[in-house]
Symmetry: C2
Subunit: 368 residues, 2 copies
């Protein structure tokens, strides 16, 4: 049992050494499992460690060995289920290998991203899992390259010529969304996204567009992209709708866009999916308990984390092959928020039953 209690100083390796009647060097050897120690001495060292409840000071240890058993993780935000899960998984995987994970949020800022990276470089982390704000060509990647850091990039990336990348196969998933919508008869779809998330937005948009045009050349695809803020996107969406545009489905390329779409539907007093269908990239727990349950592309969070850690540790252990690019398959869950267009069997009723019309709904006639 520890009996240090209130006396302030923690025991050092020298305390253990004198307590066991050996030198500090011997203690060090015992603790790191070097064989050339008489078992009698080893036993006494262990006893001393036990008695003093000694623990190696990682600071001193790692200063000397000049590499730390620490993995850094940088994500754009902590608030979302997606990145929350990513960090949880990365932490689990790192600890499984005897490393600690230090996570930081770049708060969607490339400047902060680099600052955090500098700090981690100072800390001499063994490796970094970076989920860049924008894409794999930002200043953060440049910094990592310049300073010879080992790292893996995930999520908002396609392929880098310097670092391994792991992300969801957005293009394939978007193609599947396209097929699902086309199959249900949709021929006018609005796609909304955030330009900032350059890498994935393009993949998702292109994947959707090319597939849609391949199987339904008459498909009309409108696109609203906002640079980095959600507010302008909301405004653009509102003005788009108020111009009388009436797509039969909306495909949101990111989670917050799905929320924006839903709230704009509310404002217009449109009902989903009767009046308009909705699919979102990124799933969330609540999406399956609401009316309607929201169709979503589910990213393979655990697989992304696992692959990223695998690649990272391969690099840490010295692999210097060419950078790899991994695309992990998504699942597309077509829930109630998607139905064939014009299947709004409730529309007439609604028009006739005297429900209070919403402000936004007036400018956009529901019956044509």
């Amino acid at each position: 049992m520890a009996r240090q209690g209130l006396n302030q100083r923690r025991p050092s390796i020298h305390d253990v050494a004198s307590h066991a009647g050996v030198s500090a060097a011997t203690v060090s050897k015992v603790l790191r499992g070097v064989a050339t120690v008489k078992s009698a001495n080893a036993k006494r060292v262990f006893e001393a460690v036990e008695q003093l409840s000694y623990r190696i000071d990682p600071l001193a240890s790692e200063l000397r060995r000049s590499k730390r058993r620490i993995i850094g993780a940088i994500v754009p935000e902590f608030e979302s289920e997606f990145f929350g899960s990513i960090v949880t998984e990365l932490e689990r995987l790192a600890e499984q290998r005897g490393y600690a994970l230090v996570a930081a949020s770049s708060r969607e800022s490339e400047t902060r991203e680099t600052e955090i990276l500098e700090r981690m470089h100072d800390w001499r982390v063994s490796g970094v899992v970076l989920s860049p704000v924008r894409n794999e060509h930002g200043p953060a990647a440049a910094f990592m390259k310049t300073n010879g850091m080992t790292g893996v990039m995930i999520d908002r990336v396609i392929a880098s010529d310097t670092f391994d990348t792991v992300s969801a196969d957005s293009a394939a998933a978007s193609a599947e969304v396209a097929r699902a919508l086309v199959a249900r008869g949709h021929r006018h779809v609005l796609v909304i996204g955030l330009g900032e998330q350059a890498a994935t937005v393009h993949a998702r948009l292109d994947g959707f567009r090319s597939q849609a045009q391949a199987i339904a050349p008459d498909m009309r695809i409108d696109v609203i992209l906002s640079e980095s803020e959600v507010a302008p996107l909301r405004a653009a969406l509102r003005s788009y709708f108020s111009k009388g545009e009436r797509p039969t489905a909306v495909y949101s390329l990111f989670l917050k866009g799905t929320l924006v779409a839903l709230s704009e539907f509310r404002r217009q007093a449109w009902h989903c999916p009767a009046d308009i269908s909705l699919v979102g990239f990124d799933d969330a727990e609540w999406m399956q308990v609401t009316f309607p349950a929201i169709a979503a592309v589910v990213q393979p969070v655990r697989r992304i984390a696992m692959q990223a850690m695998d690649l990272l540790f391969r690099r840490i252990e010295g692999d210097d092959g060419p950078p790899r690019m991994l695309l992990e398959p998504c699942k597309v869950l077509m829930r109630e928020s998607v139905s064939p267009p014009g299947s709004d069997r409730f529309r007439d009723q609604k028009a006739s039953n005297g429900l209070p019309p919403q402000v936004g709904a007036i400018s956009c006639p529901l019956t044509t």
Copy 2:
């Protein structure tokens, strides 16, 4: 600019010293702003620092000073909006004071909680913000006390005789929920919660119960608590409903409970709020965009984080007054999911035309 590029070793303080023609001690003094250095020398030191793009090695520095400019944060999970925001805020506040935040997730396990604390103790963090899995009397708190760590506990805590505590004023908020439900005529309410989160569950339950009984003695309050898992709660809820119990409102004491309640409503094909009202402790972004928008107790996340950091830094700076207990007021947002019982003016329509329930809900002003 840095021209180190590919040569591996980072410059040390001695490199800077020799480059500037002074001793390492002098460099150290200059860098930490000690005045007793001739300005000419100081200038040359700065130049050398610039040229070599030198950065202090925090490992070495902090080893010597034996305290680190690091704050540890331990939360039960990363996946939720609440703890995600907490961590984000704590990180911001810590960095604002020149400290780094190291966050870890206990994954709802008290064992892990203690392991993480041990690690942070090894790291000699300056302080810890702990959001305990259960309450302020767990092993983690004991460990912190035994080892003389400075810390503050938040969220699932009431009051400790050792550490400062900060949490939302759950009791007051629950009382407000009670008033709101009673005012709308509810006299049979089901409360669901997680026993594990002992501290807050009791506060929330008692706050609700005592207020309800004070203003509506005829109120019937059923309670379903599950120890630590959500699955048993769902099962208990299902069997409760299938026994024919039919409360007019459900008050969920935690976020996941709100999801469970919603999905059980679905299963029963009940419509909210026409058939049953719902209020949940903890707000989430999606709750205002769904039909119906879900009434929720909004925790003052930023205030909690702010107060916690304030208290923590006061302790770090040496304050050793008696532990303080802070309760921060919540906001209660009564959204569409709450209405008077039996006010299902749309049920008939629904029965006759199969209209989805959300139609009935359009009555509240939109929040954006």
